[in-house]
Symmetry: C2
């Protein structure tokens, strides 16, 4: 196992120097905070991740979640982690003090969640799922339900899930079959149906589990317009929040997955063996809208999970590359001379640099989104709020889809650095690879993310969000272009941006002409190209801060020089691929669209 789970110097660089998180202190909500409390929070998360989560990472995989036909149990270490997180107040540290939180910025929370996911992503899902459920209920339920269900989700007494998917309806949520029949108590319904692939769907770490469930009230319209959102507890809860009798939410089985084996992915039967009560949240038939509020968040967090795995794999590979002695430089023909560490070989450095560039760019993008989130949540200026909100919305599919696809590719590079040893489960990189694959699939498969980006986010308001983003990028590119050392990198990023803008203009014409299927068929390559542009920009921002530090006489020349060279590497090696995609999109290539199913 690696000694250092993550590069804390880099994380602090992103938080303090690039995102300038201390500027958030101007908002009253963070009045009690300071650089010191931020540091302490970050250090506490690091310690927990490194000393509690990480040491049992392999054990959790090895034992796995279990189902005996009735009960779901999870490995012992997950119980311990849960307890530690409860004691540390990690279930919802961003919520107000009076609700048990610490009012920390989302930016800092994202960094902490990143650290926990570096430690063990199965465990992190268990913990942060509960907080997420609490936030969802708080955002759209009435006071009474909030009081009844939320406090124990925030405190870590109860677990939480999201119950959308059914055996025959995942991507197509409009086809969900779960039903809700009104009962006597106001807002209370009898829920019936089966939900599949429910993360943390059942387990033995908490005394209760709260399921937000999408179901159709009997008589409601077909499709997504007839879905309502319900709170369905595993055990009933009285109005004072006391846990009572079993609510007939039964586990029907768990999935035998390639990875994330500690995480119980459960098929749940609601109301199969008796009345299962659910409480309507908000208005009827608006369930999907409410759920999406959580989903957008969940999607950025999926990006965090993915990049955390990539980051740990990279740290392991880096350490191995520095220690593993093998062969000699190509020009050294003396077989009796000492062997050198493999990091001495440029092809190994290339593999490491591809990982480093992707990880540092993507983590930066995620923290950037979280930072804008903080501003959106705290600022008063409605116009500016809208601008920032639109940018976050636009970037969310990139965090989720490019974050997950790119992380998996990054981990294959990490494994390759290990050679044969990487393919064996003795090192954690194989498990990280197995765990990581799901992030391209769940929380909305990446193809869906791409459609969300090109089909919904890009055209919104006639392209305002794209304009906001491009303008923000343009400012940063111009600033970097003023610096002599960064000028060539800035020029390259500018070239990429120009091509992406041209591709968007081209595609818009197709969309505006009503050729919707043709327009949307470009979604996946578009997301890839768009994300590559965004990462090149994020790395350029880091390079700019680094150059400023060097100009100001910083002694950390290795650290800051690396930021500049990493940005250069990404712009020069990935930038041309983004441009290639742009050109392909503009060429009108449409073979996949035109390829008939019977041709396969």
């Amino acid at each position: 196992m690696s000694n250092t789970l993550t590069d804390m110097r880099h994380l602090r660089f992103l938080l303090y120097e690039v995102m300038k998180i201390e500027e958030k202190l101007k908002y009253p909500y963070f009045a009690d905070h300071s650089r010191e409390t931020f540091d302490m929070t970050l250090e506490a998360a690091r310690q927990l991740a490194e000393e509690v989560f990480w040491p049992t990472y392999q054990q959790v995989d090895h034992e796995g979640a279990k189902f005996d036909g009735e009960k779901v149990t999870v490995p012992k270490p997950l119980h311990d982690i849960w307890k530690h997180c409860r004691e540390g107040g990690w279930f919802a540290p961003d919520v107000p003090y009076e609700k048990g939180g610490s009012q920390i910025p989302m930016t800092l929370l994202a960094a902490c969640v990143f650290l926990f996911n570096c430690g063990d992503t199965s465990a992190s899902m268990l913990v942060f799922g509960a907080g997420g459920t609490g936030r969802l209920i708080e955002s759209c339920a009435g006071e009474a339900l909030i009081k009844r269900f939320v406090p124990k989700l925030y405190s870590g007494d109860w677990g939480g899930t999201m119950a959308l998917t059914e055996p025959d309806a995942g991507t197509s949520l409009g086809d969900l079959k779960a039903t809700a029949t009104p009962l006597d108590e106001e807002g209370c319904y009898a829920i019936k149906g089966v939900k599949r692939f429910i993360s943390s769907g059942d387990h033995d770490v908490a005394e209760n589990i709260i399921h937000p469930v999408l179901a159709r009230i009997v008589g409601a319209p077909a499709g997504i317009k007839g879905l309502s959102l319900f709170i369905v507890p595993k055990y009933r809860v009285d109005e004072n929040g006391q846990v009572g009798e079993f609510n007939n939410v039964t586990a029907a089985g768990i999935e035998h997955k390639m990875g994330l084996k500690g995480q119980p992915t459960v098929t749940l039967n609601f109301g199969e063996k008796g009345e299962c009560r659910g409480y309507l949240i908000g208005e009827p038939n608006k369930g999907l809208k409410y759920m999406f509020q959580l989903l957008n968040h969940a999607r950025v967090f999926t990006g965090i999970q993915a990049i955390a795995g990539a980051s740990v794999a990279y740290q392991c590979a880096l350490q191995y590359a520095k220690e593993r002695l093998q062969g000699r430089h190509v020009t050294n023909l003396d077989p009796t001379s000492p062997q050198v560490p493999i990091i001495e070989f440029s092809d190994v450095r290339r593999m490491l640099l591809e990982q480093k560039a992707f990880i540092e760019g993507m983590l930066s993008l995620i923290l950037y989104c979280a930072s804008l989130d903080d501003d959106v949540l705290q600022m008063d200026d409605e116009k500016e709020k809208d601008r920032l909100y639109q940018i976050v919305e636009l970037l969310t599919p990139c965090c989720k889809a490019y974050g997950s696809d790119g992380s998996f590719r990054s981990i294959t590079n990490a494994m390759q650095c290990f050679g044969g040893a990487g393919y064996c489960e003795e090192y954690p990189v194989a498990q990280i690879m197995r765990d990581n694959k799901v992030f391209s699939i769940y929380e909305g498969a990446n193809g869906i993310q791409a459609m969300d980006l090109l089909g919904r986010k890009v055209p919104t308001g006639g392209g305002t969000s794209v304009r906001f983003l491009m303008k923000a990028m343009g400012k940063d590119i111009a600033a970097a272009g003023e610096m002599e050392t960064l000028k060539p990198i800035a020029d390259k990023v500018q070239e990429v941006q120009n091509e992406v803008i041209a591709a968007i203009m081209h595609l818009s014409q197709i969309g505006l002409s009503g050729e919707i299927e043709k327009y949307i068929s470009n979604a996946s390559p578009f997301l890839e190209m768009f994300s590559q542009m965004v990462l090149a920009w994020q790395l350029l921002r880091q390079a700019t801060v680094a150059q400023q530090a060097l100009d100001n006489g910083s002694q950390e020349t290795d650290f800051y020089t690396a930021k500049i060279e990493t940005a250069r590497f990404y712009a020069n090696t990935v930038g041309p691929h983004a441009i290639a995609i742009a050109k392909t999109l503009m060429s009108g290539e449409s073979t996949a669209l035109d390829f008939k199913p019977e041709w396969f």
Copy 2:
């Protein structure tokens, strides 16, 4: 599980229509063969793969190879598969009749090996490892040793391995530590040392296992120039081929791998507990040269293993995409209308088409190499032989490295088609993914393949092999360019070829100027670009044959049209990436080379 393991129509298309395997019948060695015997051989392989190998694919993974501290055992189905292959004469069907073979062409053998690897790659390694060992011994040992060891390897009585890697020397073979001390018997040595990662290294399916072992004769020079090759049997063999006492080759452990769990990957101790006899093959200190004769073959076969996994995953994904009903077309707003199979969505077709194009291009490349191999082995014209041999040598690293990296990417696409179900071990795609990852790593990690290509194969003879290949490509591009429907595809492939040639010219200048480290630092992106060009060409060749068939009035319009459109898709979507890499290589980008280890 999928009903159809592979697309036999496509395989026959490649063999008979593209590679024109019937033309091999002109060689006397194949005099007893005909289209009918080829068909029968292929059908026998398909049947064995589909009815014997494939049904236990998941069981073999689940049970796994086991080590009890003394003995290595493999899952029961591997015993059955071994027996079936022995009865079917599958251990060395290409060798002469008098040696127990059937004198089939290498092209046909490659197709059969592909089918077996579609069925179960762990099992195929076990079987074809034995034949490979036999071929190695036959190619460089004296008559007596051949008579003593080879017949039972070809018959399937004994297993075989390749024992190169040691715990501290894998990529750097010159640092191997195993020693050989002369004994009384002529050519007989006492072998001492530890070998790691030995595929099929120990098991209970055969009465004996023959290890070709690289070791250094006491007093031999350091480095690769002091390595000799020995035959080391698990049990001693007398001059008549009778198995005798234990030869002190002991299993020290097996690897716990991410995949290929049925395949025993063993650490072997030679001579730790008593005298371990090895027989020198060929001349002393030329071991690596001999071993490389087998290795080049093994590398093409690794490409076959990889592409077989990708092909099965694709077939499974295709079937799922045709059956899985989910959602509606983007323009259909009626939620009560029936759902459609997901193959109706262009993004799913894109994922399928990416797989199809890569698999059909790569399998074609491999069969092309095998076809040239047949000519090299059978023809008399020394000049033409040399030309073809050089092309095969040049393409071998592409088969191995791009074959494995691309197959793994292809399988991630297959899993994505399944959504959440793909991540569960209930479908075989997760296992295929786990199994497949190793192919980028073993038989020479892909970075080594890239160095072999750019550092050795490309400059050979001042670039003659490149010229031979480019000329062959040029002819095919010109022929395709004559056809109206193919002209745009041919133009695209031509454009890619032009850029690749320009990149080679550029890099050659760097190499010739003596900047070896800089030259070789481009190896991995070079291999990627070069392979993409080669695959675009192979697909264009298929499109040309398809267009001819259509022109000749074939009724299989779907099948042949698909070939043309697949070639178009690859040229239009992958071609631009090859060009992007070419431009990057010519830009002089060298960040990974210049990036200091301490900057990470």
